[in-house]
């Protein structure tokens, strides 16, 4: 079985309000020493101005740092005033650039470390290629092309992505999913896709290779986690424009301050025009370095967080879009309800002994390996004490379920036992020459209305009764759906059930809408209609017939166990194949956007305090009266400027964990969320730097740095 978050596991989540499970599948600690080392080295490499150009804010800081350094060197040789101050300013400006680089490098390093692990598994093993004449030939897996057939036996590594054509095997997919429990792969159906790099544990399968070397899922996965294909998302680009624009405005304000202050100096007849080092300091403090330095780290970390949930997002855009989702299409089976229905009751028709019904139900289910079939056997045992019987004594032929007959059963000792859809069984009884009691339909309707599935049972021409199969809504699902509603997201249940059954389960789970007897086309139309009304839609899917809807949806989460077509159509793949995860993906998308907004707001709000530190310091000599703006009581003009610059640099480092982890997200309405975040990051952003700069000033003076 694929690893899924089983329901009891979900119930154990300590804080039911949190959508984000605390324990991540293969997370590393945030400050893993290996990652730290790698990131530190990278932050120096990133000083290359050509690379920094992409980040206008930090590029301006670097230009300012370079200018200050050049002037410092000039003064060192030519002799100038306050060399010590200049050295410190230059150093802290370089630190500002390095800290910003470090934040980005940290985010990238986590992905790179993961990519390295994946790459190690990509060994060029020998594959057993099947030739047209039926013989096997050993070929290096890198030589395989799409369309080749290979044989994979116990212990073999599957050489490439492909479809199982024949056979059944247990496969260890832990390389991809991080989950050690093996999964079953077999030909036909929705469990036929295998991934290169995974290992067959038992039995054998014949696989048709579907991708060329270098284009496999594993290759794509490595590229994605490594961030090699990372493109800026639309919102990130727009935010970049905003902060670049603000940078330009502050550049204007600071550059024009030079002539303006020279006018003021001559008008007042006192003081001097601020030095370049001080002007650069003011500029660096004003431009949004905090968000500028952390913006790309936030994006990468968002992707990484999705990854830690074992979801592979094909682009950052998909993660961003998931935050915007208005409508979630949730498959009933496996998402809202437990994957399997349970038999809960036998309803015996008038004139039938209960024992006859239970007996027939049990016999017809003995060969039925589906969870439903097994639950019938279990219920039979509980109701009537019937034990499993050795059918081998009898002459038994099992009739498997088919979509055409819509029933299954057994022919045993000339008895023809059948169970199946009410209509199918009614027809069967009539064909056998019997009468269908009208109570049968009555029972079936009653069960359907309660959200159950009726399973009629007949013994030849005699209808016996109905088994009540009940859908069990997953524990905690109702709460989750209520949370979604609070977030402004409509949840829509998709099911193949009839409208009556669907309505009952929809009511039990508390979803906003449902789509009963849904065909793939119905799903597609529903998505298009929602999108036409300006909503963004997310859905999960695994079958090939889900592909069009997955492609149409704004966020399409394909199951890893699903077919290749589904995986290609979606923009995310859940390696655990757990459809419930769609909800978590939405939460991560929101968290990503909130983190961006919070740090932007914080960054801009910070400027207020920095003005109060630097402006009086700059013009104290010209207009001593401006000292009244020094409300923090900073010691000297130099200590004030230095403290502001140091605060500005340190705040980047201080916020790295927040940028990487993301702002805490609570599933509440937008108004409440905004109020809370505005208070913390807006008002907090205005207030926090005042004590921050004051403390640094105290330290700077205490250490006799200025």
């Amino acid at each position: 079985m694929p690893a899924t978050l089983s329901p009891h596991k979900m119930e154990r989540t300590p804080d039911p309000t949190s959508l984000l499970p605390k324990k991540l599948t293969h997370s590393r600690p945030l400050f893993d020493p290996e990652i730290l080392a790698r990131a530190t080295a990278e932050s120096f490499k990133k000083l290359n101005p050509l690379a920094l150009m992409k980040n206008p804010v930090i590029f301006v800081v670097e230009a300012g740092a370079a200018l200050t350094t050049i002037l410092l060197i000039r003064d060192l040789f030519a002799g100038g005033e306050s060399i010590g101050f200049q050295i410190q300013i230059a150093l802290w400006l370089w630190f500002t650039v390095l800290f910003a680089n470090f934040a980005e490098a940290m985010a990238e390093a986590r992905g790179k470390a993961q990519a390295d692990t994946l790459r190690k598994t990509k060994s060029d093993s020998a594959a057993k290629k099947l030739l047209a004449n039926g013989r096997m030939e050993s070929t290096p897996s890198s030589k395989l092309r799409a369309g080749d057939f290979v044989m994979c036996e116990a212990g073999d590594t599957i050489p490439g992505d492909g479809e199982v054509m024949d056979g059944i095997a247990t496969v260890d997919e832990s390389v991809i999913t991080g989950e050690s429990a093996p999964v079953i792969r077999e030909s036909g159906g929705d469990r036929s896709a295998v991934t290169g790099g995974t290992r067959v544990l038992s039995d054998w399968i014949k696989v048709k290779i579907t991708s060329n070397p270098g284009e496999t899922f594993l290759d794509r996965m490595i590229a994605l986690v490594e961030g090699a294909e990372r493109q800026k998302t639309p919102n990130e680009i727009a935010l970049n424009i905003l902060i670049a624009g603000l940078t330009l405005i502050f550049l204007l304000a600071v550059v024009t301050l030079l002539p303006i202050s020279s006018f003021s100096v001559s008008a007042a007849g006192a003081g001097t025009v601020p030095t370049i080092a001080v002007l650069v300091s003011l500029l660096v403090c004003l431009i949004p370095t905090t968000i500028g330095g952390l913006l790309s780290a936030i994006g990468i970390a968002g992707m990484d967080r999705v990854m830690q949930h074992n979801v592979l997002a094909m682009s950052g855009k998909a993660v961003e879009a998931s935050g915007d989702v208005n409508t979630l299409l949730l498959d009933k089976t496996g998402t809202i309800t437990l994957g399997n229905r349970q038999a809960v009751e036998f309803l015996t028709l008038p004139g039938v002994e209960e024992h006859d019904l239970v007996d027939a139900a049990q016999l017809s289910s003995l060969a039925d390996e589906t969870p439903e079939g097994r639950s019938v056997v279990v219920l039979a045992k509980e109701t009537d004490g019937l034990r499993g019987r050795d059918v081998a004594e009898h002459e038994a032929t099992f009739i498997p379920f088919s979509a055409y007959t819509r029933m299954s059963g057994v022919d045993i000792d000339r008895r023809r036992l059948r169970k199946g859809a009410t209509e199918a069984i009614s027809n069967f009884v009539r064909e056998e020459g019997g009468q269908v009691p009208k109570e049968l339909m009555g029972f079936a309707d009653r069960i359907a209305r309660n959200g159950g599935t009726p399973l009629a049972v007949a013994d030849g021409a005699r209808a016996l009764g109905v088994i009540h199969l009940k859908d069990v809504v997953k524990g905690g699902m109702k709460e989750r759906i209520a949370q979604l509603r609070a977030m402004g997201i409509r949840s829509v249940m998709i099911t193949g059930d009839n409208p009556l059954t669907a309505a009952a389960i929809a009511a039990e789970a508390g979803v906003d809408d449902f789509l009963a007897q849904a065909t793939p086309k119905d799903k597609l139309d529903y998505i298009k209609r929602e999108q036409g009304e300006g909503r963004l839609v997310a859905m999960t899917g695994d079958g090939t017939n889900d592909a069009p809807a997955l492609a149409q949806a704004d966020v399409g989460l394909a199951m890893n166990t699903g077919t290749m077509a589904a995986k290609e159509a979606g923009n995310m793949v859940d390696l655990d194949s757990n459809p419930t995860k769609l909800i978590e993906v939405v939460a991560i998308g929101k968290q990503l956007l909130i983190t961006r907004g919070a740090l932007t707001t914080f960054s801009i709000a910070n400027d207020v305090a920095k003005y109060f530190a630097i402006i009086p310091a700059m013009f104290m000599a010209t207009y001593p009266a401006l000292g009244q703006l020094n409300i923090m009581g900073l010691h000297t003009p130099q200590s004030a400027v230095l403290s502001a610059v140091i605060f500005n640099a340190l705040i980047i480092i201080a916020l790295v964990p927040l940028a990487l982890r993301g702002v805490k997200y609570r599933p509440v309405g937008a108004a409440a969320l905004l109020r809370r975040n505005l208070l913390i990051y807006g008002l907090g952003g205005v207030v926090a730097p005042f004590p921050g700069i004051w403390i640094i000033d105290q330290l700077v003076v205490w250490l006799k740095l200025a």
């Binding site: 919102n235 905003l242 405005i249 304000a253 002539p259 303006i260 003005y611």
Partner: protein, 588 residues
Amino acid sequence: MTTSGILQIVIYFLVILGVTKPMGSFMAKVYQGERTFLHKPLRWLEALLYKLTGVKETAEQRWTEYAGSVVAFSLASFLFTYVIQRAQAWLPFNPQRFGANNVSPDLAFNTAVSFVTNTNWQAYGGETTMSYFVQMAALAVQNFVSSAAGVAIAIAVVRGFSRQQSKTIGNFWVDLTRGIVYIFLPLCIVGALFLASQGVIQNFNEYTKVQTVEGGTQVIAQGPIASQEAIKMIGTNGGGFLNANSAHPFENPTPLTNFVEMLMIFLIPGGLTFTFGRMVGSPRQGWALFAAMSVLFLAGVFIAYAAEQSGNPILAKSGLESAPTELQAGGNMEGKETRFGIAATALFATITTGASCGAVNGMHDSFTPIGGMVPLFNIMTGEVIFGGVGAGLYGMLLFAIMAVFIAGLMVGRTPEYIGKKIEQKEVKMAMLAVIATAAAILVFTGISSVVPFEKGGYWNAPGPAAANINNDGPHGFSEMLYAYTSGAGNNGSAFGGINVNTPWYNLTIGLAMLVGRFLFLLPLVAAAGSLAAKKRVATTSGTFPTDGPLFVGLLVGTVLIIGALTFFPALSLGPIVEHFLMQGGKVF
């Protein structure tokens, strides 16, 4: 502050609050081509104008065509206004025989730009420079059309939000015509008649020379003032017929006319917030903008009023009574008309700079540093406190876009406003508009602070550009900063105390006005085009609510922070330090 002063301010605000809805819903009907009570008497005029100009009423324009029409119309208006000024000697209604020597090419350029951009910055004194014909045919006409153009652009921007998946944003020529015919003309006729009834003069006489009591002679300027006065206020133009503007008894004779003139300024800008709400299908959205404007407005009024009423501490220290009593207004009465007093002057100053009107009923230069900083800051924030007709609304929408973009992410969705996603294009355009105006103010002020000119030279006869200011220190700097701020903000009010009628100032302030008008409105029209093409996103409880107090607070904060962050260094070297120095006993 006195009870009567506070009461004047409160009553003023309540009246504006009261007229906003009827005015706004009337304008919404006009611009959406619906029937109003004026349809019957005036529809023929509208139809006639279309016939004469060949405008097809039902034709729609893409944003590029709309913007192109605005630019083409403004260019033609500029040339027309320029030529009439220079040619006034050969034109009628010129009893004082003003000629081309009164209007130098650089002054004519500056004035033409000023009136075409709805700035009405005046580097000249009306009664000593312009003939009645120029005042009426060139300047007053521009007062009408530049205002109507401003409202038209605002409506086009509103359509960006109200339409969806639309390639077009209306028709500039139709919007312009409707504004003039149904809104500006009727209002101005009523307004002019009222003002005339209160003593605002209207004649074509030669100036009267009179013997004063002291035995000297005085020339009393006059002219067709009432007709000009109404559009000056209603169109938030602000260019006075006379140099003293609304401080002059011929323009603004009584406290009642003063009150009505102030109402005229905010009438359309206030109403447009409701028009916006109505057109986007949610009046609450309009009221939210109204509320944000009101908060900023009332804060400004009371700061300015308090500063003016508390007056100059140096006088108080020297033992002079500066408290208001039965017999005196107290506070700082320098540069104020006794018939208006401190409250009505502070109120007028806040209104005229909150809106991009620029009419004055007192001298801003004589305000206390903080009292004078309020008008300055109002202009610096982009005149969105109700703002110029049209310009105030689209300016506030720009701030709404910025506010939503910065903080809207914090609800966990990509930002949206009125159901429209705010993306790359909108942010780019909003930033462009903000940068352009800031640059025009800061760069020109910076250059003028230091640029050396030869004394007696062509560009600036008094010498260096900074030599034109009449006061020392920070106050002198404020005068220069205010001039460029007023130009770039398309306000047109003068702080005064600076000689701006030199080629250097005429050219640079002219450029500042052009930048402030066109590099602000063109990006917004472009944004409107991109917004109109978008689908409307469904509103859910996950959507950032932009019609509640939280948004109002956010919007106010954004306006203040963006304004303050950009201009704090400049302000600190002007009014802020002047204030501290005054507290310490030094004035300039």
